[in-house]
């Protein structure tokens, strides 16, 4: 099943190289369309677009280090009602694929006839940082590559990415490899399923002969990330631990619920926290205020965040979209990632790892957690 090949890169033109591979996928009719990140006309952002002609791939930029939305939500929108009858390629970053796997388990998306092409991720900037870098006339990807090659951490990257332990995609049909690969000379293309292999068979790329070196470098890179992640965990516990700190962290929340809307895991059509359950008559408010002396308005800020955490922590992939969308700059990523990590550990569950693993809250084992309820 596994086949690893190299696509030669001429003059360091990484983006153009992969784009010409993608347009061949269309020309050879291997896919009828591609969902691919594409530069907007003003050249200062990248958005996913469903492309059917190679013309549209000219501005494709699959390596752009920016993630305006987690594309798992887009795929869900595209496939929830009907799945595809002919192959469609989707080009995603690792956290997008992991979220997509969770959405499939939640029956919110279908992988039928999708060719998943995952791209190694060196991290992403916030949308506004990305825009600023572009407007200053820099290529954000080239800048990022420069620092990556020097082994320096780019502190401008989103925190979610700086502590992300999944830089290499899993559950793909094809993986585009950068880490541990001299990608300015040749990009790694790896087939991970039969579907992926069938695609590669239509091409005659030379074989990749540095698998072992790549594996070593990837695991070294991941270990560095895990160390940073664990640092973030202990820092978070110190910073937000206890009611006083927690209330202060969320004190700037304006209740816009953006974090919920952009969260790929928060799929409910009607959020419980926006349901009529939370519509009260005037006397209710008065009663609460009289009981406590006073109450904050709007009410239920902490309830929303803690409640949402309980609903999605088992599947949180740590993409940090919540934090990127927060107008009050609440450090949501570190809180949700820390909490989710501990929850997922209890069930030995890693979101996005395996389609066959049931969601922790939809299943159970009889002989588990026996101390709960028996203290």
């Amino acid at each position: 099943m596994r086949k690893e090949v190299v696509i030669e890169v001429k003059n360091g033109k990484v983006k153009e190289t992969i784009n010409s591979f993608l347009s061949e996928l269309l020309e050879k009719n291997l896919v009828s369309a591609l969902l691919v990140p594409r530069e907007v006309p003003s050249k200062d952002n990248v958005v996913q677009s469903l492309v059917t002609t190679s013309e549209g791939l000219k501005e494709a930029n699959v390596f752009a280090p920016v993630l305006p939305v987690n594309s798992a939500e887009i795929i869900s929108k595209m496939t929830r009602l009907t799945s595809y009858k002919s192959p469609v390629g989707i080009i995603l970053k690792p956290c997008e694929i992991r979220a997509l796997i969770e959405l499939v388990k939640l029956e919110q998306a279908s992988l039928d006839n999708l060719l998943i092409i995952g791209v190694d991720c060196l991290g992403t900037y916030s949308v506004s940082d990305y825009q600023n870098l572009c407007r200053q006339g820099n290529s954000p990807f080239e800048e990022l590559v420069k620092k990556f090659k020097e082994g320096k951490e780019d502190t401008q990257l989103r925190e979610a990415c700086r502590v992300c332990e999944y830089p290499v995609p899993s559950n793909t049909d094809l993986t585009v490899g950068l880490i541990g690969v001299d990608f300015l000379k040749g990009i790694l293309l790896k087939s991970c399923t039969e579907k992926g292999e069938e695609v590669l068979e239509k091409f005659s790329f030379p074989e990749f002969d540095q698998s072992k070196e790549r594996e070593k470098l990837v695991s070294k890179y991941i270990n560095e990330k895990i160390e940073k992640r664990d640092g973030l965990f202990s820092q978070t516990k110190e910073e937000v631990g206890g009611w006083e700190n927690l209330l202060s962290v969320f004190s700037t929340c304006i209740g816009c619920h953006n974090c919920m809307r952009v969260c790929p895991i928060c799929y409910c059509r009607e959020c419980f926290f926006e349901s009529p359950t939370f519509e009260f008559g005037s006397e209710k408010y008065l009663g609460w205020a009289q009981r406590k002396g006073s109450i904050k308005m709007p009410k239920d800020t902490i309830l929303f965040h803690l409640g949402r955490m309980n609903h999605m922590a088992t599947s949180c992939v740590g993409c940090g979209m919540c934090e990127q969308a927060c107008p009050s700059n609440i450090p949501l990523l570190k809180i949700f990632k820390t909490v989710s990590h501990n929850v997922q550990e209890i069930f030995d569950y890693v979101p996005g790892r395996n389609l066959e693993e049931s969601l922790p809250l939809t299943t159970f084992r009889e002989n588990e957690l026996q101390s709960v309820g028996e203290e």
């Binding site: 937000v240 009611w243 406590k292 309980n310 501990n342 709960v372 309820g373």
Partner: protein
């Protein structure tokens, strides 16, 4: 705090714990009047959000009562609730918040005594623990 009387919100399943509470009552068993029972059809229907809400509103304790493992009227609601409460407790712990105010107990319809004992135990535990600090917290 000698005269502190904790308030406990109880989510009791219709088939087991609520019937157990009934039995405790009809058997004239004595237990502290600190619990406010809410009858639910299954412990598995108790979403963590309701538990959190009770705590944020100032309840000193929350008790979720369900059928013994294996005895759920709906086969597996209590097993699923056990997972939900495990998640909730883990989240509270990670955030440095007290998870000991949330109890989940399996009490069957025939265990009136166990119900009365559980309420006594929980009440005296909460008396020692003191009032929920969120009782007077307005900025939640």
């Amino acid at each position: 705090m000698a005269d502190f009387e904790p308030k406990i919100v109880g989510f009791l399943c219709n088939w087991c714990t609520y019937a157990g509470a009934d039995l405790a009552g009809t058997s004239r068993m004595q237990y502290p009047p600190n619990i406010r029972p809410i009858r639910v059809m299954c412990s598995g229907s108790v979403d963590s959000a309701y538990v959190i809400r009770a705590l944020l509103e100032g309840a000193d304790g929350v008790l979720i009562g369900g059928c013994h493992p294996g005895d759920c009227h709906y086969v597996s609601g209590n097993y699923k609730e056990r997972r939900k409460i495990t998640v909730l407790k883990s989240i509270l712990k990670t955030l440095g918040l007290d998870d000991n105010r949330v109890w989940i107990r399996w009490i069957s319809a025939s265990e009136g005594k166990r119900y009365a004992d559980t309420i006594s135990e929980m009440t005296s535990y909460l008396k020692k623990l003191g009032p929920n600090p969120l009782r007077k917290q307005w900025s939640l």
